[in-house]
Structures are given as C-alpha cells and as structure tokens.
Amino acid sequence: MTNASIAGVGATKYYRRGRSLPRSVLELAVEAITAALADAGLSVRDVDGFANYGGGLDTARLAQCLGVPEVRFTATQQGGSGGCPGSLGIAAAAIHAGMASVVVTVNSIQQAAYRLGRGDSTSGPYTAGTTSDLDFVMPYGLVSPAHKYAMIAHRHMHLYGTRREHFAEIAVSTRANAIRRPTSVMTKPLTVEEYLSARMLSDPLCLYDFCLETDGAVAIITTSAERARDLRQRPVRIIAVESGGEGQHSPIWAWAASPEDYFTSAAHGAVARRLWDRSGLSPDDVDVALLYDHFAPMVLFQLEDYGVCKKGEGGPFVADGNIRWPDGALPVNTHGGNLSEGYIMGITHILEGVQQIRGTAVNQVPGAQVALVTGAPASIPMSAALLGPER
C-alpha cells in the first residue's frame, strides 16, 4: 500500500479532433487542473509537484500560468500512454520521499497540428522517427501503432481461435457504457452487425477497433493519505502502482522476435505479476477494470495478462458477457474508454477509477472496493495501478 491518495480530479469537455481550437493545450490543462484543485478543496498555492507522462507539458510555463508559487518536484515518465497510471507512482514516490506534498498529474491533448496514429507527424508526442533501429520498420510501411497491434491480434486469432466477434464485444460493450454518459463523444449505440460490416483499416482491425481522436485535458491531484483525509472528497488510496516491462521484448522491433506467449499478449505480464505480488491482491479482488483501449483487441489481451482469464481464453470470456456493466463478472471501461468516451491518452481511465471508488460514477459498480487502471500496451514503460477507498 502506498501512503498517497488521490484527492481531486478534474476535466475539460472532450472535443472531436481539432474542435478545441482556438483554445490552447495549455489553456485546456489549466482548466482541468483548476477543476481538480477545486474538487479536492485545495488551492493552486498548495501545489508543489508535477508528475506526468506521454511527453508531459512544460512545467515552467504551466506553473507560471497556474500561479504556483514554487515547484519542488517535476518528473515525467518516458514513453507514451503506457506510463499513464505509472505517473501516479512518480507522484506517490515523491510524496513518500518528502520531495512534494501536492502533486499534479495532467494530460492535455489537441490533435489539430498532428495525429497520434500517423507515422508522419512532425509535432506531438510521437514524431516520425529517423534512427538506425527504425530502419528495420519504417521502409516496410509499419508506420502506425495500428499495424503492430493488428499483427499481434492476427497471431492470437490464429493460435487461439479468437474471432472478430470477440473484439466486437469489446467495442459494443464499451459503446453501451459511453452512451449513458454526458461526457462521451460517441452518443449512439453500436451493434455487432455494424462492427462486422465496418471498413477494415488494418486487417484484422476495423474502424471500431480504433480509439477516438479527441482533444481535452484531465488532471489528477495526489497528496499524502494523511492530508487527503482532511480534504473535501472521500480519498482514493493508491493501493499499488507498478511500471516497466520485460527488458528483452519491449521495443517494437524486438517484440517481433519475442516468444509466442509474449507476442500474442498486451506485454503487461511483468507489470501484472508485480502488481499482484506487491499488493497482495488478485484478479478476483478487482471490482472494475479500466483497461487501456487504443485498439479493442488489446483489452482482451490485458484480461489474459492480468490473469482475469487464462491465456487464449479472452475471446470466450468476453463473449460470455463477463465485461458488461452492470452484470458481468468484471465490468470493463465503464466510462466508455478511449474507444467511445474520449481519448486523452488514457488518463480518463484514472478519472473513472477515482469516481468508481468514490461511488459517484455514472455507470457505478455497486460498492466497488478495488479498481484496476492500466496504461497502454506499448514499449517500456507500461504501468498499472490499483485504487481503493481509504479504510
């Protein structure tokens, strides 16, 4: 158990890609942070730390705009959205070490000048690469994350009989959750038939396997468990948080040569094992799972990586209705996820985890005591957190 708790959360509205203009990325971030501080009952004068991921923001400019008197701590996870919940670990570590007392984690995104899914973006967190390693990837037109995850999904289908209908269940159930929420970009139900007849973008991935492209910002305020007890909201304890991944197989080109079990996974195995070991909890203890969904099949593979179901059985597991809210064994992405609510590089998953533990979620899992929040299946660092109520 860490001795840090989440005291506040805040968000802007979620806009379709580019629709947040002429507002700036910084302006969106400030709005979300201000809302999160108000939620916590804290002032910007209490903030002394920043712990980010996914490229982060310029702390100097952010602190200046917010009116933070003094920054004592600022750090950003390497990599992209894999490190999303891991940023809570950085915050908790800083608080534990006495290096910060009130830490902001924020993601603010505006996909107007660039698009994350493209291979030729010249700005944004993922710019077109020119390295000797990428020479083994780029000349073949493997330029989008979609291409990589499509090949992983294809091999999983080949080995385990996983079908597009299984991926459809993820897209359809996530959409059903989203349309109940006023924050969601997607507002109409999705049927299995619509999914199966959708345009293929990178076989076996179709349009509805892809996450949304949206603009917006979300902020999380972390402080010591002791301080959080005296603040406005019911505190949400960071039970455990783990980052990283297997050293030999993580980069995209090494992943191609990794062992079969690893190739057909979400690459979260190492993080998952440490999360259960260090928390003393098991998948059976989890009441709601907010699993990073850049591509629908990767939700299925995370269910396997985290031991919610056995390797290769993710397809039948979801087909049996197990991830449905409210009656499934483990409701997944009750907020509508990156697929249907909004894509803010995964931080909406933390927001939903907090609301589930507070008991204030729109699609509330009754009495939720443990929420699992994961970052993207990606290169190192990947990460995950377990959230629970203060006891």
């Binding site: 020479d135 083994f136 073949y140 037109g141 493997l142 499509a150 090949m151 293929m200 076989d203």
Partner: protein, 141 residues
C-alpha cells in the same frame, strides 16, 4: 524492379552497428547478426550481446527462405509517402535459418493469398544503387 513499394519510405539511417546489414542488402545477400561468443541472434543488431555480455557480433548468411508469422493488410494510409501504395501487406517473417524474425512486406501476392504460415522467399527492392530493401514473395512451385 516489380516489388517497388513506397520509395519515399526507403530512407536509411545506418550506424556502425547496422551498416553491414544494409551493405549486404546491396549485394542481394540477406544476413543476420549473431553473437560470436554464444551464438544468440541479435536482430536488429546490437553492439553488446544481451545473452552473454560479450561484444563481438558476426554476420551469418540467411537462405532468404521463411514463412509468414503474422501479418496485416494495411488498407488505410497513415503516412503521406504511402498514400499511393495502399493496400499493402506488412508481415513478421520467421526465417527458416534461425530464430530470426524480421518485419517486412509480402509482395507479388493477392491479398486473399496471404495467410499465417505462407512460405516466402526474399526478393530485392533496388530503390537506388545505395538503398536496397529486402521484401518477401510467396515461394512458387
């Protein structure tokens, strides 16, 4: 030659470690890096062996034969240099020679024909005298 694919993507940035691979490609030779000491495959090449910690690597010739380990049919272009080349097949190719898998393309193939396990052989895309890219086509006959 026939296999040309998106020449705008065939821009290389070799360093001292990867240069021998691309030099061999110019000679139409497919090679893979392995540890001189323990034999562990190091592809893409690395200057130090992650298996035994010894430094020297050696370049072994590959037969150029392999099979499709997994693949995707890229129907949507996510890069301006590829807009005129969709749909195309990206594949993980498992070489027959050793525990080597490469990312490449399957070319000279109908989309319906591509499947996991499809036997393939290397074919050379001579983009320019300096740049030659290995791609794969089905083994026929």
């Amino acid at each position: 030659m026939e296999v040309a694919f998106a020449p705008g993507m065939a821009v290389l940035h070799p360093d001292g470690t990867t240069q021998p691979f691309w030099d061999a490609c110019r000679r139409h030779e497919l090679v893979y890096a392995a540890c001189t000491s323990c034999g562990a495959v190091r592809m893409p090449p690395a200057s130090v062996c992650p298996a035994c910690g010894e430094a020297p690597l050696t370049w072994n010739p590959a037969t150029g034969l392999g099979s499709v380990y997994s693949f995707t049919i890229a129907r949507q272009s996510f890069h301006a240099q590829i807009d005129d080349y969709v749909p195309y097949v990206i594949a993980v190719i498992a070489l027959d020679d050793a525990l080597v898998r490469l990312i490449s393309n399957v070319v000279s193939v109908t989309l319906e024909e591509v499947h996991i396990g499809l036997p393939v052989q290397v074919v050379w895309d001579d983009v320019s005298p300096e740049i030659v890219i290995p791609r794969f086509e089905p083994r026929r006959g």
